[in-house]
Amino acid sequence: MHQRQKLRTSEHRSDLAAHGGALSMSHNDSRSFFNFSQLVLSAGQIKPSPALKHSKITYFEVEILDVQSKKQICIVDKVPPASTLLDVKHKFHKACPQWYPSRVGLQLERNGPFLKDSINIQSLAVSSIITLYFTDLGQQVGWTTFFLTEYTGPLLIYLLFYIRLSTIYDQVESRKNFRHPVVHLACFCHCLHYIRHLLETLFVHKFSEGHTPLKNMIKGCAFYWGFTSWIAYYINHPRYTPPSFGHRQVSYAALAFLMCEAGNHFINVALAHQTNSGSKTCFPSPTYNPFTWLFLLVSCPNYTYEAGSWISFTVMTQTLPAGIFAFLMVIQMSLWAKKKHKLYLKRFYPEVRRKAAMIPIIF
């Protein structure tokens, strides 16, 4: 009889559920009341309501230790399980205001890798207390600031040399000598290159949220600004010697330079569009634009075009310092291209297999 009662209770329960829990008093009032009372008494078997669930959320505590002294800096408590490492960094910043989130490097072990901001706290937890080691990554700077500073410097420095400041060049000589048209063309090309870079940084490139240490910016600026000064000094010097093969050398090199600039621009636009549409799942494909056809041969055509620009500039001005700069840039970009090529090989294996990294066929 108990079983039969239970069966009837469950039927009634489903009835109640079907009616949204509303009690419908049938003509058999007493029986339904009996069933109802059974229902209430067996309430423990029903799933607990959401109100009861709240008190069972486990908050995590994150203990942050200094990586060198192993001393505790602070404990971030009441961390909800769904939060990411970035939330923890924000809370840490509130407790210790001198370390803003992008400056904080957190590791699970003292020699382990730095954890990414997007990691979920729950995936790190072994117990309800998580221990992380903190390293101060130093003053950080955003990528946009980084590139803007790096590219504005050369633009202004070259112009300073172009206008032939009296402190740099001997004034008597400067006024006497006639300037070969290639000097003006070189200034135009150089400025075009950096203005294009600046505009692309502002309007085309989509940088990931990341930051980079200030030291890197200073090193990069020293390299670019130093070399620009060195190159600009010789090209704008009163005793500058125009290229040996005359107008032909200049025009062909200038043409090559402009083509490489255009190519670099279109490649950057294509890469930015790809990031925008979110389709990072496939290797960028060449479009109707002939400059993007380099994608068929090479996995990093932007580096190819940039190298081409600097080599054309060197040939156009026939200046050894420009050649040295172009040489160093080619080396640096080859290293970057090799890294990126390896990444592409892993991600897009079949398409990228037959492509070179930076120079078609060769490398």
Partner: protein, 230 residues
């Protein structure tokens, strides 16, 4: 795991080669030391002793370039950049200053740095030899980490004085300098370059000196602890 295995040290063949290299270098610098003493005794004065040891000095100091290769190959656990920097500065002084500017070879400052280099290198190469053979006498270790306190400033003074003495001759002869105008639009002034080299000693020398002092404290106190525990 993999990186630790690679750093375990040179193999047997590399160790044998390194022992031979270090023994040869020790012998070479001993030859230079003996040459200096003999020339001093023969001449009766310490002036212009450079000519008596010119050839072995050039040979063995240039031979130190192999050490850059050793670091690059990984058979010696030092930084390539640091070693390259040290060896190139020595080679620069030997060839680009002392050899190239003949007038400077009679200066006493040359003797100053040659003596400093000789004593330092004899101790250094014998230190490496004994370390490779795992039989390092405490005396050599002590000498390596103590004598530099005097020898290093002595060597630096000799080098700086020699470069300074070479300046007027470089200016006069336009040695290694290119001026505008020329086909490749490039200029280089060796005189200015030498001045920049002298200035660069100011930040670099104290850093290296204090680094060696720090190493001394670490290495010699560690040995004492070992001895005490024995």
């Amino acid at each position: 795991g993999r990186s630790r295995r690679r750093r375990r040290g040179p193999g047997a063949l590399a160790t044998a080669y390194l022992v031979i290299y270090n023994v040869v270098m020790t012998a070479g610098w001993l030859v230079i030391a003996v040459g200096l003493v003999r020339a001093y005794l023969a001449k009766g004065s310490y002036h212009s002793l450079y000519y008596s040891i010119e050839k072995p000095l050039k040979f063995f100091q240039t031979g130190a370039l192999l050490e850059i290769l050793h670091c690059a190959l990984g058979i010696v656990p030092s930084s390539v950049v640091l070693t390259a920097f040290q060896v190139m500065s020595r080679v620069f002084l030997t060839w680009a200053v002392t050899h190239s500017v003949k007038e400077v070879q009679t200066e006493d400052s040359v003797l100053l740095f040659v003596v400093a280099w000789t004593i330092t290198e004899i101790i250094r190469y014998s230190f490496y030899t004994f370390s490779l053979l795992n039989h390092l006498p405490y005396l050599i270790k002590w000498a390596r980490y103590t004598l530099f306190i005097v020898l290093y400033p002595m060597g630096v003074s000799g080098e700086l004085l020699t470069i300074y003495a070479a300046l007027p001759f470089v200016r006069q002869s336009g040695l290694y300098s290119i001026s505008l105008p020329n086909k490749y639009n490039f200029s280089f002034d060796y005189y200015t370059f030498l001045i920049l080299v002298m200035i660069s000693y100011i930040p670099i020398f104290p850093q290296l000196y204090f680094h060696m002092l720090h190493q001394r404290r670490k290495v010699l106190s560690h040995t004492e602890e070992h001895r005490k525990s024995e």
